[in-house]
Amino acid sequence: MASFDVMPDVQLYQPAELDDALNLAERFGDSGWLVGGGQDTYGWLKDRAKNPQAMIELNGIDALSGISETDDGIEIGATTTLREIIRDERINRDYSLLAQAAGRVASPQIRNVGTLAGNLVQDARCWYYRRGLACYRAGGNICYADGPESMNREHAVFGASRCVAVSPSDTATALVALEARMIAESTSGRRSIAAEDFFVGPDTHITQMTSLKDDEILVAVRIPSKWAGKRFYFEKVADRDVWDFALVSVAVAMSMDGDTIADSRFVCGGVACTPHRLTNVEKAARGKALSEESAEAVAGLASAGAKPLNYNHFKLPLMENLVRRAMRG
């Protein structure tokens, strides 16, 4: 496939009001493309791998930006940049898990413009798919990443169904751990979706990563106070420290009862098409103290049930080791 230096001919809309954006989203449907920071958008368009008719840029809508307090926690507007999240005092105090995850995204320049919603709804990084091949995810009937000769070191070990791509978002793992809710809006109204249900696997919907409909806009993320100020652990393992996606990442929230874990959420990124909750680990961790012993006791559960592909067996011990490190205290 040829690679192009310039953007294709595509219309641009820069609505200043959310209502106008919702109307545009409805009008263009699946031939419209919502743009936040655009860092996932322009590659698709320059490569001609996706060909929307119009870009709808949301950065001019004030109502979509900023961090505010709610009755129970905080609300982060969709176009709030990762830079703002990393520097926000309240997030660093109460939900530092999210600030840490956001701080490990891509490079400084990308965090400066990249939005929270854009990071959450970014498309799969499978290079066969990104190359514009007609794979399952692109509406075809073959997976190029799952074959004897396929290069699938970065691909899924859980939840694959025809497509074996993984969830690339670092902030998604943190938000699932924090039990956030996603607020989606269309001209017909608003709905609130639990973070865990927001991300969908290929068995549910193979051509999209989230449950957003074509005419819907992710307008905000709400984080409840349930995990505010609790004990957090975030670690992302990637080949490079900058501009790289997680091979495996782990986001953990734990509420402690004295020295022992009363309740916890363990979520792995880079191992499944959605942020992958380690419910076995959560159950086993309950009532345990943070120590080398409990780390040893629960770590093996992390990879239970995994189905590795040809080149990604290494993700299993990697997941176990990340859980071990989170449990050592």
Partner: protein, 195 residues
């Protein structure tokens, strides 16, 4: 080449393009009534290096393209054109951005600074530029304008960074010569600290 043929081709091309232009206008005026709110105008003003520049910008045009090919500011380099290498780094409202991955229409109301805007009116180089020369930071020099802009943004915000902070701030700029440590030496020198 047969001149007859090329003339015919030329005439055909003229006819085709004027027809396209005509139908384009028709389409535009028809749409003007029912134009969705939020559509962009092509002729815009940009604030670049403190000057207001009027320029005709296509809706999908990237800032690096506008700067280099329409405003003559070729100090901003295009490397990967995918927001990965950092050669095109410019400051927008004082913050580093990959200009190859920034819609020009998105910066209409904002202040753009490129490497051309750094030196003083009398030609004195910016302290970062001077420090990069003193430390022999660049090798081939292609990534240098981007490295300079990242360093300027860092020092504006944090005048005395640690070497590790500088490393983080410069991490979105690749250098295929591998002169990273030399650039860090330059940043530390520009901040008045001995590297």
């Amino acid at each position: 080449m047969n001149p007859q043929l090329s003339r015919r081709r030329f005439i055909k091309a003229v006819i085709a393009s004027s027809a396209a232009a005509a139908s384009g206008t028709g389409f535009h005026s028809a749409l003007a009534q029912d134009r969705p709110r939020g559509a962009v105008e092509r002729l815009i003003s940009l604030n670049v290096n403190g000057q207001t520049r009027r320029v005709d910008v296509a809706p999908q045009e990237m800032l690096a393209h506008t700067l280099r090919y329409k405003l003559g500011l070729s100090g901003t380099k295009i490397g990967c054109n995918r927001g990965e290498c950092g050669a095109c780094t410019v400051l927008i409202d004082g913050v580093t951005n990959y200009s190859c991955s920034t819609l020009t229409h998105g910066v209409r109301t904002r202040a753009v600074q490129t490497v051309e805007g750094l030196q003083a009116a009398d030609g004195t180089l910016h302290p970062v530029q001077q420090a990069f020369i003193d430390e022999l930071s660049p090798q081939c020099g292609f990534c240098t304008p981007g490295q300079v802009m990242s360093a300027v943004a860092l020092l504006d915000e944090n005048p005395t960074p640690t070497r590790e902070e500088a490393r983080q701030a410069m991490s979105g700029n690749l250098c295929r010569c591998g002169a990273y440590d030399h650039y860090l030496n330059g940043v530390m020198r520009a901040s008045g600290q001995n590297s």
